[in-house]
Amino acid sequence: MNPARSLVVRAMMTLACLIVASGALVAGGFSIYEQGAAATAQGGAFVARAWDASAGFYNPAGLAMYGTPGQWRFYGGITPVQSQAKMTGLDPFPGNGVREKAVDKWFPPFFLHGSYQLNEKVNLSLSVTTPFGLGTEWENDNNTYSGRFRSILADIQVVYVSPTFSYKVNDKFAAGVGLDYVYSKVKLERHSGQAFFNGTDTRVYDVINVKLDGSDNGSFGFHVAAMYKANEQWSFGVDYKHSVSNKYDGTAKFNQITTGISLLDANVASTLANPAFGGTKQDGSTKVEFPNSFVVGAAYKPNSKLSLEADFCYFGWSVFEEVEIKFPESQILATSVLEENYDNTWQIRVGGEYWVSDKFAVRAGYIFDKTPAPTETVNPLLPDADRHDIGLGIGYKLNNQLNLDVSYLSVNFTERSTKSRNVDGYDGIYKSHVNLFAVGIGYAFGGQ
């Protein structure tokens, strides 16, 4: 590795480690398509227009298309996400009517886009985004949460650092290509149980708390995009992001939970103390594959105030087959596998904006988001479902340099039942809701 490149990678890593963020289940699986506030208000239908610096995520070709030579453009913001989920159990386990609730959580995904227009044709940009993320934690007071042997906490924190080169071929056509450096961390927690006849019934007792904490110090992906402006009214865009394989190495911790039953406690203690077990703190590793995505969209601008867009997004979720945890140091622990078997899926995104005045715009959008999770693998780690999202927002230009966007996206999950077919024997009907708020500030200077 040459020193200059190594320095760049190290800088990216440092940046990434500092700002890694987890997310809620905003879009199908655990993708988060909300990397700009103006786009979010319009349901993310932005690939064919991508006129602000969030183009670094939505369609980097837009940067070259709309840049002015010598101009710097920055666009940054946060998208506070509130995630809520509830489950009602089904027979045979945990049984009809058993109720479980996820911890209400706030996540702060963020985005930061910077671009510099070198000349008429060339634009260089760097985007720091969180296009994937997961954070589900179920309330487990007094160890009574019925899904605790499957998943108590699952947290995937992701940051993409994406340098991109875009090129304007002519006034109608521009293209972009870039790298994605991906840093991510994962945390998983669950309990291990042991069946025991306690004199009145056969109970499964909590005997071990298992926690995995791992990180992937850098995986790479790439993205390519293009934009075509047919005329003043019509424009089209495409964007492809490649899949990223993440390998997480870290530590697995096993803490004994005492039951007060001497025989059981002694058995568990001797298992944990057995050298073949590998220790209560040992290496653990897992893999998670982020899918590729392909987005194509068309925008229509009937007049200078109004623009409308419709996008079709395809996600290659079939790469997400399982969450597998390996314990290389243990001769006793089997590899733990949670099946996911996701299907490839798609979303329809429609939205638009209307400039009420030179300074003020209103925006709205709608998303239909088809879940990639098959009925059999819907689980408390990822209680996925089809979603209908509604976005609303406003944009305000303070002056020629500064603009502000504020948006709200309501992510409405449909009710999702495992229909007593869950592969892991944990059946229920899940209902979730996510509120997403996005605030973005744009700043531009230089160039004429």
């Binding site: 809520q84 489950m87 027979d91 069946a195 006849f197 306690n198 509604i390 609303l392 999950f413």
Partner: protein, 449 residues
């Protein structure tokens, strides 16, 4: 700006509406699983007869908290009888108030030793029922008793082994034998499961000394198989004949029926573990001091190398200073572990031969009368070898306490075990009669809360 205000109001409204937390999805109606088709069988009046396994014994006793999960009650509920097996239901059992009959065990959590409850109720709460019970299971009932015993004084244990079982008087209440009471119920469908005690006591008593029940006091003999058996002249009764007569009587009821055979007794937890807390790493030595791990050599009456199984009861006997000799039991050549606590390889082979012969007797007699047999011999051996995976993924096995299947006495199933017994009968009934009795939810008997 009017349009702006309107728009902001819109955002606010949506935000407030959407900000509400989602409601819990509503659960589907928790209706009792009901039989959808009876096939060629008639389940209108259902009754069961047998021994403690039919009575729903758990933890060495009867208690209504366990009796509600007798296999008969479980199947009756699958047949659509609401709350079958509970007090006042349409399907009645001789219920005992909690905590149950004398000797019923509870688990001492600190030592994990099953110990008898200190306050047994011995209170049968519906003795006044003006008809026979639908569950005619009587603990310690032998094959002989089904047709012949109206009272404790007539029971096999009283007339052949010397000690009467008072439960015959209590449950039969002087209104006939198990069979005549079954007949009085005019059943349309009967489950009959007898014959276990005819070999069980012999096995759990270590088959005496070198297989001889006469060698050690209190070791009961098994029931002779046929008229050529050397024990036959002593008892004047044999298993082959008893099964044939019992099944003839069942047929005379005109009811549809299913019967069960006898598990290999060495597949039960009684022979797979000692009392927990007593550590027997091998049959050579026992840990006498848990704190230091100090061990002592164990001495046996039977040749040590010939021993295959140690009986559960040895755990509480070993090391005890009974008889005031000052010599700890089993830990000195002068007081070796008696033959009643050990099964030698030869004794096990002999017991298995007897059980196999009993089962052949049952299957032959049943086949001749076109009565289906549920195969518990295969079931329990299969569980012993490979455990059983429940619908929810939980794996249970035959290990004492930690296995989940057997109750604290190591012989009788726990509720989960009875659910598996019920499903074994249900599967056989459905296969033979073309009925569709829904299976009991086994996973529902494993609690994680």
């Amino acid at each position: 700006m009017k349009r702006l205000n309107f728009f902001l109001a819109g955002i606010l409204t949506v935000a407030l509406m959407a900000g509400c937390s989602p409601d819990y999805p509503s659960a589907p109606d928790d209706e009792l699983a009901r039989i959808t088709t009876s096939g060629t069988a008639d389940f209108t009046r259902f009754a069961v007869a047998g021994n403690s396994l039919t009575a729903g014994t758990q933890n060495n006793g009867l208690s209504q908290q366990f009796q509600v999960n007798s296999y008969g009650a479980l199947i009756a509920r699958q047949l659509g009888i609401a709350d079958a097996g509970t007090l006042g239901s349409e399907w009645e059992q001789p219920l005992v108030a909690d905590p149950g009959t004398s000797g019923i065990l509870t688990l001492d959590f600190a030592t994990t030793k099953p110990t008898p409850v200190t306050n047994p109720s011995n209170n049968f709460i519906n003795l006044a029922l003006a008809r026979p019970y639908d569950n005619l299971g009587i603990p310690s009932c032998f094959l002989y008793d089904f047709l012949n015993t109206k009272d404790t004084s007539e029971s096999w244990t009283k007339t052949r082994l010397g000690t009467g079982n008072p439960l015959f008087a209590t449950i039969l209440r002087g209104i006939g034998t198990q069979f005549t009471q079954l007949k009085a119920l005019q059943p349309t469908f009967v489950i009959w499961w007898e014959g276990h005690n005819d070999i069980l006591g012999y096995a759990t008593s270590g088959a005496g000394l070198n297989g001889d029940f006469q060698g050690i006091a209190g070791v009961p003999p098994y029931t002779p198989l046929n008229s050529a058996d050397p024990l036959f002249p002593i008892f004047g009764y044999n298993f082959n004949d008893g099964v044939a007569r019992s099944l003839d009587s069942l047929q005379a009821l005109g009811a549809d029926a299913v019967i069960g055979n006898i598990p290999d007794v060495t597949a039960i937890a009684y022979f797979t573990a000692l009392y927990p807390g007593v550590t027997f790493p091998t049959k050579d030595s026992v840990v006498v001091n848990a704190a230091t791990g100090a061990k002592a050599a164990v001495y046996y009456q039977e040749t040590k190398d010939s021993i295959q199984f140690l009986c559960l009861g040895l755990g509480s006997a070993i090391g005890a200073d009974s008889g005031g000799t000052g010599i700890p039991y089993g830990l000195h050549p002068a007081r070796p572990v008696g033959g009643q606590y050990t099964l030698t390889f030869a004794e096990v082979r002999n017991i298995q031969t007897i059980i196999t012969s009993y089962n052949t007797s049952i299957s032959t007699a049943a086949a001749a009368r076109n009565i289906p047999v549920a195969d518990f011999y295969a079931l329990f051996n299969d569980i012993k070898t490979s455990g059983r995976t429940l619908d929810n993924g939980t794996v249970v096995n035959a290990a004492f306490l930690s296995g989940g299947l057997f109750s604290l006495d190591g012989v009788h199933p726990a509720s989960l075990g009875y659910a598996i017994v019920a499903n074994t009968f249900i599967d056989r009934i459905n296969a033979f009669y073309g009925s569709a009795i829904p299976r009991v939810n086994e996973a529902g008997f494993v609690s994680v809360q």
